[in-house]
C-alpha cells in the first residue's frame, strides 16, 4: 500500500479534547443512537471574538452575523445571542430561521433577513423590525406594499448588489476580471433605478447600506465589489440618503486538513490515479471532475481547498488589507475614511471547530468474491445525507474511536477502506474516496467526522428509508470532564443538567 494517504483533520484544542473523551462519546451514541451530532457552543463565541479582533485591528465598527443556514441547531444561535448585542447578530434566510433566531433570544435589531423571501417572511421581519437585505427590485416593492398595507414602522433595508463585472468601468483598459454569475441580488449597473425607488418609498423603508455576497475564493473579485459598493454609497449620499453600512457577506472559508504536505501528496496522487500511473484512490475510479484524455489530465478537481493557510478571520483580514482596484486604498481604510460600518455574514467560518458527527461501525467486510480478497467496505450507522462533507467537496479523514482501549494486535496497520452508508442504495457512500485509517475498524467502534458544524451536519439530512435523523447534543467542558444536554435543552446560562452557571 505504501505510505497511507492521510488527510487528517485540523483540530483546535476543544475538538482535540472532546475526541480524547472516547468513553464519553461512546456512551452518548449508546444512549442516543447513531448518527449523533455533537456541538461545542463555546467555540462559536470564540470564533466570533476572532472576527471581532479583525474589526478592532482595522478600527471598523459593525456587526458580525452568523449565517444560520450553516447549522439548524439551537445551541449555536443561543450561545451567540448571549454575546455583545452591538457587535453580533444572526443572518436568517427563511421564515423558520427568523422565528428560531427570535426565540433564541436575539432582538430584532440583531437579525438580518437575507436570500429570496416569501411574503410571510417579509411580514414577520418587517413586523418585528429586523433588517431586510433586499434581493431584488420586486422584493422591495413587495416589502413596501406590506409595510403600507399593514401600517408597519419603517424598515431598515440593505440592497444586495451583484454583477459587478459589467458594472466595473474603473479597471485598467484591456483587463477584464471575470466572475461567476449569481442568481441573487440586483445588477449593480441598475442601481440608479433602485435608489430612485428607495427615495420614493421613504415612508416605508430606510436605506441603511448596500451588500454583496460573491461565491468565490478570489479576493480580487470581492475587493472590486467592495469598491463598487463604496461608490454606490456615494451616490446615495448625493441623493440625500444616509446609509452607513457596507455588507460584504461571507465566504471566508475554513481549513479542514491540518497538514499542507498531506493535502499536496493526496491531490498529486489523485492526479496520478486519474492518469492510471497508480491504483485508484476512489470507489470505481471516480476522478472528482478530473478526466484522463489520452494521457493528459483535463477538467478541474471539484474539491474544496481543504488545506487553507489563510481562512476565516485571517481571510477577512487579508481582504481588508488589499488595495481596491481604482481608488487604490486598502479596503478597510476605504470603509473607515468614508465613515462606513462593516457587516459580515460568515457561516462556515463561524461554525469552524464547533462540532462533530459520530457514526457507529455496523459492518466490516471485503468486496472480493474469494474470501480475504478485495477492498474493505466499512458500513456506518449513517448515510451520506448525515455528514455532507462530500456534498461540499470537502475531503478529510474521520477519527477512529475504538470501543475498547488497547486490545489491538501487532499486525494491525494502516488500511484503506470505503465508507458506505446505511441506505439500500449503491450510491450511498459517505465519501467516494478511499479513506486511510490507522487500523481496520471493528464493529462497535465509532468514526468521528470532525468539524462538520458548518453545512456538513444537518444541511442535507433526510428521512429516506425511515432511517433515523441524527439527534444533536451540546457539550460543555467543566473542569476535567464533559457535560452534555440535548440541543433543544441548551441555554447559555445553564450548566447542561441544571444549575445556573
Amino acid at each position: 500500500m505504501g505510505v497511507p494517504l492521510y488527510l487528517q483533520p485540523r483540530l483546535e484544542p476543544s475538538l482535540t479534547s472532546l475526541l480524547d473523551a472516547g468513553v464519553f462519546l461512546h456512551s452518548l451514541v449508546d444512549a442516543l443512537g447513531s448518527p449523533l451530532n455533537v456541538l461545542l457552543p463555546e467555540q462559536i463565541a470564540e470564533n466570533t471574538e476572532r472576527f471581532r479582533a479583525v474589526y478592532r485591528e482595522h478600527h471598523l465598527a459593525g456587526r458580525v452575523y452568523f449565517a444560520h443556514k450553516a447549522n439548524r441547531s439551537s445551541a449555536l444561535v443561543r450561545r451567540l445571542a448571549a454575546m455583545d448585542s452591538a457587535a453580533t447578530g444572526v443572518d436568517v434566510a427563511s421564515l423558520g430561521e427568523l422565528r428560531h433566531a427570535l426565540a433564541c433570544g436575539l432582538t430584532p435589531d440583531r437579525v438580518m433577513a437575507t436570500g429570496p423571501k416569501d411574503p410571510e417572511f417579509l411580514w414577520l421581519a418587517a413586523r418585528v423590525g429586523a433588517t431586510v437585505n433586499l434581493d431584488s427590485r420586486g422584493e422591495l416593492d413587495q416589502l413596501v406594499e406590506i409595510v403600507r398595507k399593514y401600517g408597519l414602522s419603517r424598515v431598515d433595508v440593505l440592497l444586495r448588489l451583484s454583477a459587478f463585472e459589467s458594472a466595473a468601468s474603473s479597471e485598467g483598459v484591456g483587463v477584464r476580471l471575470r466572475s461567476r454569475r449569481s442568481r441573487f441580488g440586483s445588477p449593480a449597473r441598475e442601481v440608479s433605478d433602485l435608489l430612485s425607488a428607495v427615495e420614493r418609498y421613504r415612508d416605508a423603508v430606510e436605506l441603511t447600506g448596500v451588500a454583496y455576497h460573491l461565491d468565490t475564493t478570489a479576493p480580487a473579485e470581492k475587493v472590486r465589489a467592495l469598491e463598487c459598493c463604496v461608490q454606490v454609497m456615494d451616490e446615495c449620499r448625493a441623493r440625500g440618503l444616509a446609509p452607513r453600512v457596507v455588507d460584504i457577506g461571507g465566504g471566508f472559508g475554513v481549513g479542514y486538513v491540518a497538514d499542507a504536505g498531506q493535502w499536496e501528496r493526496y491531490t498529486s496522487a489523485l492526479t496520478e490515479a486519474v492518469l492510471g500511473t497508480r491504483p485508484a484512490l476512489t470507489w470505481r475510479g471516480h476522478g472528482y471532475g478530473l478526466r484522463n484524455e489520452g494521457g493528459t489530465v483535463r477538467g478541474t478537481a471539484a474539491l474544496y481547498p481543504a488545506y487553507r493557510p489563510t481562512a476565516g478571520p485571517g481571510y477577512l483580514d487579508e481582504l481588508l488589507s488589499l488595495p481596491t482596484p481604482s481608488l487604490g486604498r486598502p479596503s478597510a481604510t476605504l470603509l473607515l475614511e468614508h465613515l462606513y460600518d462593516l457587516y459580515v455574514e460568515p457561516g462556515r467560518a463561524l461554525a469552524d471547530q464547533c462540532g462533530l458527527s459520530l457514526a457507529l461501525v455496523l459492518d466490516v467486510r471485503r468486496t472480493g468474491e474469494v474470501s480475504g480478497s478485495g477492498e474493505y467496505l466499512v458500513r456506518l450507522g449513517m448515510n451520506a445525507g448525515d455528514v455532507s462533507l462530500e456534498e461540499h467537496g470537502v475531503l478529510v479523514d474521520p477519527v477512529l474511536l475504538p470501543r475498547t482501549a488497547a486490545e489491538g494486535s501487532d499486525e494491525e496497520s494502516p488500511v484503506g477502506v470505503h465508507l458506505v452508508g446505511n441506505l439500500c442504495l449503491e450510491a450511498d457512500l459517505i465519501t467516494r474516496r478511499t479513506v486511510f485509517l490507522p487500523r481496520l475498524p471493528r464493529i462497535g467502534d465509532l468514526l468521528a467526522f470532525a468539524n462538520t458544524a458548518g453545512y456538513a451536519m444537518d444541511f442535507h439530512a433526510h428521512r429516506a428509508q425511515r432511517q433515523p435523523v441524527a439527534r444533536t447534543v451540546a457539550v460543555v467542558r467543566e473542569g476535567g470532564s464533559w457535560r452534555w444536554c440535548l440541543d433543544e435543552e441548551y441555554w447559555p446560562i445553564t450548566h447542561p443538567g441544571g444549575a445556573l452557571s
Partner: protein, 445 residues
C-alpha cells in the same frame, strides 16, 4: 545585420559557458542557452511565431483575435506578432501574478481576461471548469478567434526541434551535451530540444524542473499542473525535480551578479536546479574520463520581475529609506508626545483660535470629497508621509489640526511633527468618526 522583419531575428541565440569558479563543477562544462536574447525577450518567441504564422497568414479580414492561455512570455510574443499583422490579441489567465507583466501586456495592446476564482460554496456536480467554457466559446460557429493552443499545439515543440535543439548541437561542435536541463512550462522547449539531442546521442540525460506545489515561479508548472499539458510526456525526462521560488531567486542572483547574465527567476531556477543535480554526479567523476557538458535554458530577463523579488527578498533591493518617519515611533511615544483635542474643543479652536488652525484631513481624496470638515485641506497620508520625511511642511507659526478616520494616524503624525520642532500640532481625538458621532457638521464637495 539587416532584416526585413523582426521575426527573422528570432532564434540563433548565444550559448555561453558559465565560469567554473562560479558553479564549482570540476568535470562538467556548464552552458547557458540565452533564449532571453530573442527579440521579444524570451524562449517563447520561437513557438509563438511558429504557432501563429499559419494562423496569421490564413486570417482573412483582419477582424480576428489571437487568443492564448498565457500570463507571461507567450502572451507577450503573440501580442507583438498580432499587432504586426493588424490583429488583436487576448490573453486568458487565472490571475496575472506579476504586475509588471500585466502592465507590459497592456502596453503591447493585449486584452487580458482573468477567470473567476474557485467557488467557495462548492457544487461538486459542476465539473465544467472555466477552461471548458473557454474552449466552448472558441469553437462556437462564427467565432473570430485564432487559438494558438500552446499546451497542445505540436508546432510549439517543432519550433524547438527545428531551432533551439540543432543550434545547441552546432555550438557544441556537432555533439549533444551529456545533460540537458529545462524548466517545464508548456514542455515545448524540453520536448523539442530533447528529440534532437537524443537523435545525436541517445545517452543524453534530461532533467525537468517543476515548481514546489504551493509555490510560484513564473513560467514553471507544478508537478500536478504538468499533467494537464498535452505536450508533456514523462518519457522525455530522466529525472523530474522541484525547485522553490527562493532557490530560483538565488540562481538568478548568481547569474546576474557573477555571470553578467540578466536572467529572470525561471533561468535562475534552471541554473540552480542544474548545479544542484550535477554536483552529485560531478563528485563521482574523475579526471580519467573525458570532460562532460551540460546545457540549461535562460528563459527570459530580470526586469519584469522586480516586484516578484521585492515581495520575496526585499533585502536584495536595498535598505529602508531615511528621513523622518511616523512608523518609527512606538505606541508609547505617540501617546506621550501627541497633543490631542476632542471634537468640542476642536470646533471652538477652529472658529475662535488666533491664529486659527489649519485643518489637515489625512484621508483619501474620494472620502474627503464625500464628506469633510469645512475649510480643511486634504493631504492623503501617503503624500503626507513623503512631505514630512523631508521636513516640516508648514511654518512653526501656523497651528495645525490633523484629522484621520479614528485619530490614530493623526496622533502619530502629531507626535512626529512635535518632535520635529513644531510648537502647536494637535490630533483630532477619535477622528472624523467621533466628529460625526458628535453631530458636528461635515460638508460635501
Amino acid at each position: 545585420m539587416r532584416y526585413d522583419s523582426i521575426t527573422e531575428a528570432i532564434g540563433n541565440t548565444p550559448l555561453v559557458c558559465i565560469d567554473p569558479a562560479v558553479h564549482g563543477l570540476r568535470h562538467i562544462d556548464l552552458y547557458a542557452k540565452l533564449e532571453m536574447l530573442n527579440p521579444f525577450g524570451s524562449v517563447k518567441d520561437r513557438p509563438a511565431w511558429n504557432m501563429a504564422r499559419p494562423l496569421l497568414e490564413a486570417a482573412a479580414d483582419g477582424g480576428e483575435t489571437v487568443v492564448e492561455l498565457s500570463s507571461g512570455n507567450t502572451a507577450k510574443a503573440l501580442a507583438l506578432l498580432a499587432g504586426m499583422h493588424g490583429l488583436r490579441f487576448k490573453s486568458v489567465t487565472n490571475r496575472m501574478r506579476v504586475p509588471e507583466i500585466k502592465d507590459l501586456l497592456l502596453l503591447l495592446g493585449a486584452e487580458i481576461e482573468e477567470l473567476p476564482g474557485q467557488s467557495e460554496c462548492l457544487d461538486p456536480t459542476d465539473t465544467d471548469d472555466p477552461l471548458t467554457r473557454f474552449h466552448q466559446a472558441l469553437s462556437e460557429p462564427g467565432s473570430a478567434y485564432l487559438h494558438t493552443d500552446q499546451y497542445f499545439n505540436p508546432r510549439n515543440t517543432e519550433a524547438h526541434a527545428a531551432g533551439t535543439g540543432p543550434e545547441i548541437v552546432k555550438d557544441l561542435n556537432g555533439r549533444a551535451p551529456d545533460w540537458f536541463i529545462a524548466c517545464v512550462g508548456t514542455a515545448g522547449s524540453s520536448t523539442g530540444v530533447v528529440r534532437v539531442l537524443r537523435e545525436h546521442d541517445p545517452e543524453v540525460r534530461v532533467l525537468g524542473l517543476v515548481a514546489h506545489k504551493s509555490d510560484f515561479i513564473p513560467g514553471i508548472r507544478t508537478i500536478d499542473e504538468v499533467h494537464q499539458v498535452g505536450l508533456f510526456d514523462p518519457a522525455t525526462y530522466d529525472t523530474i525535480a522541484s525547485v522553490s521560488s527562493d532557490e530560483a531567486i538565488d540562481g538568478m542572483m548568481t547569474l546576474i551578479r557573477r555571470c553578467g547574465l540578466l536572467s529572470g527567476p525561471t533561468g535562475g531556477a534552471a541554473y540552480l536546479g542544474a548545479v544542484r543535480h550535477l554536483r552529485v554526479v560531478d563528485a563521482e567523476l574523475t579526471d580519467a574520463v573525458p570532460r562532460k557538458s551540460a546545457v540549461f535554458i535562460v528563459c527570459d530577463r530580470a526586469e519584469s520581475y522586480l516586484s516578484y523579488v521585492r515581495q520575496r527578498r526585499p533585502e536584495l533591493l536595498g535598505t529602508p529609506r531615511r528621513g523622518h518617519s511616523a512608523t518609527a515611533l512606538t505606541d508609547a511615544e505617540v501617546q506621550a508626545e501627541a497633543q490631542v483635542i476632542g471634537t468640542d474643543d476642536a470646533r471652538r479652536w477652529i472658529s475662535g483660535g488666533d491664529p486659527r488652525p489649519l485643518v489637515v484631513d489625512l484621508r483619501g481624496p474620494h472620502a474627503y470629497a464625500a464628506l469633510h470638515i469645512e475649510g480643511s485641506v486634504n493631504i492623503v497620508d501617503e503624500l503626507f508621509d513623503e512631505l514630512v520625511r523631508g521636513g516640516l511642511p508648514f511654518s512653526k507659526r501656523q497651528p495645525v489640526l490633523l484629522a484621520c478616520p479614528v485619530g490614530e494616524k493623526s496622533a502619530r503624525y502629531a507626535a512626529l511633527l512635535t518632535r520635529m520642532g513644531h510648537p502647536d500640532v494637535r490630533s483630532l481625538a477619535g477622528g472624523i468618526i467621533a466628529w460625526r458621532d458628535a453631530d458636528a457638521p461635515l460638508v460635501r464637495e
